[in-house]
Amino acid sequence: MRQFDYKRATDTDGAIQAHAGQAAAYLAGGTTLIDLVKLDVMQPERMVDVNRLALSNIEDADDGRLRIGATVRNTALAYDDRVKRDYTVLSEALLQGASRQLRNRATTAGNVMQRVRCSYFRDGISPCNKREPGTGCSAIEGVNREVFAVLGTSEHCIAVHPSDMCVAMAAIGATVEVQGPNGTREIAFGDFHKMPGNTPHIEHELAEDELITHVTLDAPIEDAGSTYVKLRDRSSYQFALASCAAIVALDGDVIREVRLALGGVGTKPWRCSQAEEQLVGAAANEENFAQAARLAMQDATPYKHNAYKIPLARKAITQALKDATARAGNGGSI
């Protein structure tokens, strides 16, 4: 752990100012940042503590949307009544992430910004294009059973984006509000995280010094049922091997609207638009769910130890669609 200096910000302008012109990092819950600083993988010279900023509220926004402050803790978000009622998938995704102690610390913005769990990235010494651009990717020919993707990979990086929360947000649809030295702007959630391509060290759309202030969820889909299915070796406290966030709204036995996003298999929170398109207007039955699952995974690329993720993700999708459908109002029974 290198020496760094520490500034506690009390308002967003102050935070951005303190960040500017430095090799700085915003410090929220610290569950990613401090860990990686101890491992000498992240080496900020300054930490700007954002925990005192007035960003810890969950507020109703216009058009039935829900605006979540950057420092709202994962636990608080998961147990918020509006989230439990209107965004069940998000509450469930949060509660299946990490452990209770971590969720009590982890913040909304920190979760969006969490780094990959690739052991070659974390060891500080292996060739890794994300940590040291141009050095190569140790994972492609290495041990890659667990936190490695089959979707959105490139020959430069195959690490999964490990968040559960973000998978639910990708399904719901959201806007990331950011503030920088030149004012505020909004980024669509689906555009926020980047696939590795040949620049795996560029992980998101945030510009230098920009601060996430809020994530605003799209209005809930009327009468929809939703769920998050997370598959892993042990029952808790493990990143997803494959997961699926599903939101289903019915019109009788027919799917009126559907959202599908995957975790554990993509280099970013993975929205399955093609499968969604195919499901809309189709009967909500297992055959169509399985068909959608095949479509969602048809372009997947397996690596040495993670080929099993392709059928596993298909199972997660089918199960999530089944469970979300069972919860949807206005529909027949399946």
């Binding site: 752990m1 101890k38 292996s126 667990e146 299915v229 598959l231 042990r234 089918t318």
Partner: protein, 732 residues
């Protein structure tokens, strides 16, 4: 005895100190002027160190000194003798030369004023290497050659197998497992007036002292090793590892106390592990299920530093009757640190193979797997023909089977169901050694009616403090609150390591003996001139319920006896011997029944129930004994389904070296555990009838899970751990 606490669920006497944080562990000691050490570890798995560049690190804040093979003081190797109690598994002393044997080997040690400064500087030490290729796993190690360590034979096992009516022939493999106790290894060392005083997280203060005496060419009396509390070790803390020697050495060089804590990621490289195994089992039987041949040939990975033999077949030669048998053990070198015992070494992985094969045999015979085991039960130890001192295996089978509801099991694969979940039920036997080793203890009775027990053993969290207090309270007939247990200090009378499940059976007889000797001493003092029972014949006096009594109804307290004579105390010392040579074979026995659920739609595998019945002699404390068995089952379930240290084949470096990625069971994985302790005393082993209970619960758990998985899925998994991808139905 005024009251009997032995056997009941007496609360841990150290519970309050642990709960309130008063219990101090090795790294909780901060002697005046203490510096902190942090390691630099090899990134290659075989080769030589070409250079170590400390130019940046030397100038970093707080750095006191950076040690490596060019400037490290010369240490002596320990003879690594178990009988001499200076056993080590890593024979090489740290920084001995420039040779690298495994990734994660120490190449430098930075000492600084704070832990953070030491770590920061350690990251800036740059080592360059001349790397050689090396075997990164057992499969590669086999190509380099296999060395047989030992073999046991009865009859002609090969021809008996060849001519058997029904056969099973299969190879089972198990991965490296890493000891992951909550408390990481830690050493706090200081030198004072030529004496070395060490707080060490160790399972054996005596072994640690004797080893350091060899390393530093000192008399053992010049060394004190303290281990008041240990956050467990699982075998990884039986013997000392390089960091302990290195910490003591640099404390001497620098003339100030030094503390070292082994980071979690380095627990995966420099402090032992359970080796990888490949076990070839061949079972031959008659059509009625009688075993006619048992062959168990195993190979395990070892290091280039030392040969460690995992005794996979340790239980195999004794568990079942068979006229023909071969058990052999061999090793192959892999570029990793030396393995070391991990809870239930040998049988822990060996019974996965044997008890899986027994299940496969039962299926081949179309016979109930429990019935097959009953049929091959042996009332004498077939390895030496001796009768068992006490073996209630058949009762274990009966009681656990009944509790589990084994009779209701439908043997048809995939026939049992609960909603979306297919149910599988499996059974496997457990077995562990029973033995005792020599032990000394001292008991001191004081005028205030209290007693102190001294013994150089330690409590690694199992309950040793508590059962010593119970034993002393019962033997002396005084309240357990008046007993002080003083352990975890190598200057106390010679005690045993906390390992091998022999601590209880070894220590308690010494405690009983020392209590009686102290009572005799008080009786002797009671009859002195000027004492309450002056002139009495000591044969007519009796120590009971904390007081000395004569036949006439008079009684004298310790104060009545000691104070008029101006005596501080009455002391009793006792030495108890090792296992008796009395014509009996000793062992502990049991069985695990496991029920799993498998959801083919989601590939999820869950253990639903475990019923376990254990015959481990008299139970000293129902709560701590039960915790040991339950904890061992949890570890067994972890080994069955999750645990595996994964190494990068190119670098030999472990990749899942942290608590997030090295998976052990969490609460959400826990099934209902139902443990039946038979509690039949084994009075041949000692007067308390106690054997040991720390390890047996783990043995056979993996096989019971594998057998249950087969019952649900029809898939026979012979390679641990049984992860969801291995049994997944891919058609979905």
């Amino acid at each position: 005895m005024s009251q009997t606490t032995i056997g009941s669920a007496v609360a841990r006497v150290d519970g309050f100190d642990k709960l309130t944080g008063r219990a101090r562990y090795a790294a909780d000691f901060h002697p005046e002027g203490m510096a902190h050490a942090y390691g630099v570890y090899s990134t290659i798995s075989r080769g030589r160190i070409v250079s170590i560049d400390t130019s940046i690190a030397d100038g970093m804040p707080g750095v006191i000194e950076i040690f490596h093979h060019d400037n490290f003081p010369t240490l002596h190797r320990s003879p690594a003798s178990f009988p001499e109690e200076n056993m080590v598994d890593e024979l090489r002393t740290p920084f001995e030369d420039d040779v690298v044997h495994y990734a994660g080997q120490f190449v430098a040690l930075v000492v600084a004023d704070t832990f953070e400064h030491a770590r920061d500087a350690a990251y800036r030490v740059k080592a360059s290497y001349d790397a050689d290729s090396a075997a990164a796993n057992l499969a590669q190690g086999l190509e380099g050659g296999v060395t047989e360590a030992n073999r046991t034979e009865r009859g002609d096992a090969d021809s008996a197998f060849d001519s058997a009516e029904v056969k099973v022939d299969a190879t089972y493999t198990t991965p490296v497992e890493t000891h992951n106790p909550m408390e990481m290894h830690a050493t706090t060392a200081r030198w004072a007036n030529g004496k070395l005083i060490v707080h060490e997280s160790t399972q054996g203060v005596i072994f640690a002292r004797n080893t350091l005496a060899k390393n530093f060419d000192l008399d053992p009396s010049q060394i004190e090793v303290h281990a008041d509390y240990i956050g467990s070790g699982f075998g990884g803390k039986l013997w000392l590892w390089p960091h302990s020697l290195a910490t003591c050495a640099v404390a001497r060089e620098l003339g100030r106390p030094v503390q070292f804590m082994l980071p979690r990621q380095n627990m995966f490289t420099t402090s032992g592990h359970r080796p990888e195994t490949s076990q070839h089992i061949q079972l031959g039987a008659k059509t009625d299920g009688t075993l006619t041949s048992i062959i168990h040939d195993s190979i395990n990975s070892t290091s280039s530093i030392n040969t460690f033999v995992e005794a996979c077949g340790g239980s195999t030669s004794s568990l079942y009757a068979s006229d023909a048998l071969r058990v052999s053990h061999a090793t192959a070198q892999v570029a990793r640190g030396t393995p070391t015992p991990m809870r239930a070494p040998g049988a822990g992985v060996g019974l996965f193979a044997l008890e899986s094969a027994m299940d496969e045999l039962a299926i081949a015979l179309d016979m109930d797997p429990l019935e097959l085991r009953r049929q091959n039960f042996t009332a004498t130890d077939p390895s030496d023909g001796k009768p068992w001192s006490s073996n209630h295996m058949l009762e274990c089978y009966d009681r656990a089977a009944e509790r589990f509801g084994w009779a209701d099991r439908n043997p048809q694969v995939g026939s049992m169901r609960d909603g979306d979940w297919l149910i599988g039920q499996g059974v496997a036997a457990c077995n562990w050694d029973a033995m005792r080793n020599p032990c000394d203890a001292r008991v001191t009775l004081r005028p205030d009616g209290s007693a102190t027990v001294h013994c150089a053993t330690q409590d690694i969290g199992t309950g040793t403090y508590t059962i010593i207090a119970q034993t002393a309270a019962d033997t002396l007939g005084i309240d357990i609150g008046r007993i002080h247990v003083a352990i975890g200090d190598s200057t106390f009378p010679h005690g045993q390591i906390s390992g091998g499940s022999w601590a209880t059976a070894s220590i308690l007889p010494a405690i009983v003996g020392a209590c009686k000797a102290a009572a005799d001493k008080l009786v002797e003092y009671a009859a002195n001139d000027g004492a309450p029972m002056a002139g009495a014949d000591t044969d007519d006096l009796l120590f009971e319920a904390g007081v000395v009594k004569n036949g006439r109804g008079d009684q004298a307290t310790p104060a009545d006896i000691l104070e008029p004579q101006k005596l501080a105390h009455a002391i009793g010392d006792f030495h108890s011997d090792g296992s008796p040579e009395d014509g009996y074979a000793y062992g502990s026995f049991g069985v695990n029944f496991v029920e799993i659920g498998w959801n083919p739609n989601t590939a999820q595998l869950k253990v639903r129930r475990v019923v376990s019945s254990i015959d481990a002699g008299a139970i000293m404390n129902d709560a701590t004994a039960r915790s040991q068995v339950e904890g061992a089952i949890v570890m067994g379930l972890g080994a069955a389904m999750f645990e595996a240290t994964e190494y990068d084949e190119r670098t030999g470096r472990p990749v899942n070296n942290n608590y997030a990625e090295y998976l052990v069971p969490v609460n959400a994985d826990m099934p209902e555990l139902d443990v039946i302790l038979l509690n039949h005393p084994d009075y041949h082993l000692n007067e308390l009838g106690a054997r040991g209970i720390g390890e047996i619960g783990l043995t056979g758990v993996q096989a019971a899970v594998a057998n249950a998985v087969y019952h649900a899925t029809g898939k026979r998994i012979r390679d641990l751990p049984i992860t969801l991808d291995k049994i997944m139905d891919e058609t979905a």
